[in-house]
Amino acid sequence: IVGGCVSKAHSWPWQISLRTSSGIHFCGGTLVHPQWVVTAAHCLERSKRPSAYKVLLGVHTERANEASKQDRNLEKLILGPNGADIALLKLQTPAIMNDKVLPVCLPEKDFVVPSGTECYVTGWGETQGTGGEGILKETGFPVIENKICNRPSYLNGRVKDHEMCAGNIEGGTDSCQGDSGGPLVCHSQNRYILQGVTSWGLGCANAMKPGVYARVSKFVDWIDTTIKAN
């Protein structure tokens, strides 16, 4: 996360760290069910084998030396439909729900977050010198309608319907490398709802280059049916 701030410990209890089997963090993810994590498909390019990865839950630092840590191997990797940058990870055993590990809510099918809604991203990714390395950071910014985001001076038509943009027009804060797969959540009716999965951007935190996120509401049916079928 570039800009933003260091989060309060365990205040985003659905955030997971996706790691190599040797324990190196490389992507984020979001707990949506005790045994299922949503992440970005591009985070799984290095291997198709579940054994190549593991998931850490209940941690605040990248070192992950907290007593609340839960360590899970993966049973399945399931990539999203039509090449979309979203994937589901099935944990070998369900995570234990407590005050430090809790799933996020999923949105209604096809819900579009209104333009200007303030949402939040979290992760242990690149900070570009803005501080907080190694500790879960957060930042907030408004959702930008695809019509604006696809203007020539922004992302010039690159954003698809199943993606969404969010960021500050003047830059300075954004998600970045290592945050991929992690959550973009928006607060609504006293709960946080997973609206985006960190996907791509043109650099990080550049003016008029907001971050792009997989639009979760377009994949709710896929998530439900995949979990039920597996």
Partner: protein, 555 residues
């Protein structure tokens, strides 16, 4: 029937002071509207209705002439005809405030005898609202509203008031409220409240200030002119071709040496960015190609290369002549506020809850209790007000953050919904915070997420569906049974009038969707009704962290 208030504009949470005002006790809002319509001694332009108290005040003033105040549970209804600044037909019903004739002459007051002795006077035509020196049409002149002028050589002249049905735009059409629904390439517009064929983020209920009605062309996002999503699956959106108005654009009072709020009125000559780069002239396309041209934004003062804010940015800016930097903000002094209240928020460690009455709350919540987005404190639309950062420098009125600048009982904000002036914020009081401000240590007790806690004595959101058993108000007074008529007499909310609202016994309920949560009539003769303190069910299900996030926002 609900039709009685159709000719009124409603604003919740609003109150107006008026020298001419009459109080009535009524049973319904329709009865209150009827009282206003029946006023004969003076012209009733608005009324105030307090549903829980069944209290009705008719008033001669409206929001065009008087400051609106905040008042919990009150709603201001204003007659639309007295708010319109345009004419229907020849304008005999025009009650606007234009006071210049079509050649720019200042109108003579209708009650004045000089320089012209009038044939039409307020006393002889009491129903014509010949007030002040506003243009009127008491004699059904075919040229529309007119006035006697202050020019002794011109007795009277028509006023050239724009037509309400004229389909045209001023500026970039940000305020266009017309009914054109076909684009310049002949596509039919998609309804704004529909997500088919195009899924989109311009939801009318989430963006009430944008007036996204039916499938009419609108400009909610600072484009050069109104547009709409189209009903063609292959064309997501298209501009609409709406002619420019021939009447005068809205007048502004330019700010020449400093900027208020977001600086949209700044018309000064600073032409250097905050990092010292020279600005590019708005009318040229090098080194940066753009559409913020004087032609596209004719009312934004895009002269020369001066810093401006034509598109709802945070402050005045410009494209730069530096080929590495497309645009940058300018450092325009803020009028009367050296501290710069709208600087980016610096994240700080805070609990997102408030102590006492919340005067000291400095958290980051920007949402009202019913989920409405807060209006920026420095903005005057959709609600004009006096709670500005300049007027309350100690209150930290940054951005659109919930605050309590005036010693109310909790943090609040003006909302971006034109029909709801203000609301308390979606915040709870801090409880049992240990000294030293440390976050309480949480045990890792298993917590099984449950879908909702409808059966528990807690509420979700506003508590509309609360069916718990709490029957004591915040001040410790016992609630009166909903079916009882003593000590409080009432007929707005009974088990008969609201059979689905759970008005059983004397338990607190929220039958009217009050944004501050469940309430009840009280057994205290001196307090007709009051709120109840019902804990929130948050923390029991998905997306509700036990440790509340900081929600730091911005750079």
């Amino acid at each position: 029937s609900g039709n009685e208030t159709d000719s009124y504009t409603k604003t919740e949470g609003a109150w107006i002071l008026s020298l001419q005002k009459t109080q009535y006790s009524v049973n319904t809002v329709a009865e209150c509207a009827a009282k206003c319509d029946a006023e004969t001694i003076w012209t009733c332009r608005s009324f105030l209705y307090i549903e829980k108290d069944q209290d009705c005040w008719t008033a001669a003033a409206n929001s065009k002439t008087e400051m609106i105040l905040r008042r919990s549970s009150a709603a201001l209804y204003e007659k639309k005809v007295y708010l319109q600044e345009c004419v229907n037909g020849i304008g005999t019903d025009y009650r606007g405030t234009k006071s210049k004739s079509k050649t720019g002459k200042i109108c003579q007051r209708w009650d004045a005898k000089y320089p012209h002795r009038p044939n039409f006077t307020p006393s002889e035509h009491p129903r014509a609202d010949l007030e002040s020196n506003f243009c009127r049409n008491p004699d059904a002149d075919s040229g529309g509203p007119w006035c006697y002028t202050t020019d002794s050589n011109t007795r009277w002249e028509n006023c050239d008031v724009p037509s309400c049905t004229e389909e045209c735009i001023h500026c970039s059409g940000e305020n266009y409220r017309g009914k054109i629904s076909t684009t310049e390439n002949a596509y039919t517009c998609q309804r704004w409240d529909s997500q088919k064929p195009h899924n989109h983020g311009y939801n009318p209920s989430a963006l009430p200030e944008k007036y996204l009605e039916e499938n009419y062309c609108r400009n909610p996002d600072g484009d050069p002119k109104p547009w709409c999503f189209t009903t063609s699956p292959s064309k997501r959106w298209d501009f609409c071709s709406i002619p420019r108005c021939t009447s005068e654009p809205p007048t502004i009072v330019p700010e020449l040496s400093c900027a208020t709020g977001e600086g949209e009125l700044y018309r000064g000559t600073i032409s250097v960015t905050e990092s010292g780069k020279q600005c590019q002239s708005w009318s040229v396309q090098t080194p940066w190609k753009h559409n913020r041209s004087p032609d596209n934004y004719p009312c934004k003062g895009l002269d020369s290369n001066y810093c401006r804010n034509p598109d709802n940015e945070r402050m005045p800016w410009c494209y730069t002549t530096n080929t590495e930097t497309r645009w940058e903000y300018c450092k325009v002094p803020s009028c009367g506020d050296a501290a710069g209240p709208d600087e980016p928020v610096i994240p700080v460690e805070e609990e997102d809850c408030y102590e006492g009455d919340g005067t000291s709350y400095r958290g980051v919540t920007t949402e009202s209790i019913s989920g409405k987005r807060c209006q920026r404190w420095s903005a005057m639309t959709p609600h004009s007000h006096k709670k500005t950062p300049q007027a309350f420098p100690q209150a930290d009125l940054r951005r659109n953050l919930c605050r309590n600048p005036d010693g109310d009982r909790a943090p609040w904000c003006y909302t971006t919904d034109p029909s709801v002036r203000w609301e308390y914020c979606n915040l709870e009081k801090c409880v049992n915070k240990p000294s030293g401000g440390a976050t309480p240590t949480q045990s890792s007790n298993p917590l099984v997420p449950t879908p909702d806690s409808a059966q528990k004595d807690c509420k979700t959101g506003k508590g509309d569906t609360y069916r718990g058993v709490t029957s004591i108000t915040v001040l410790g007074v016992t609630c009166q049974a909903w079916r009882a008529q003593s000590p409080q007499q009432h007929n707005s909310f009974t088990p008969q009038t609201h059979p689905t609202k759970g008005l059983e016994g004397n338990s607190c309920r929220n039958p009217d969707g009050d944004v501050n949560g469940p309430w009840c009539y009280t057994t205290d003769r001196n307090k007709k009704w009051d709120y109840c303190q019902i804990p929130d069910c948050a923390g029991m299900s998905c997306g509700t962290p036990v440790t509340k996030p900081k929600r730091c926002f911005g750079r």
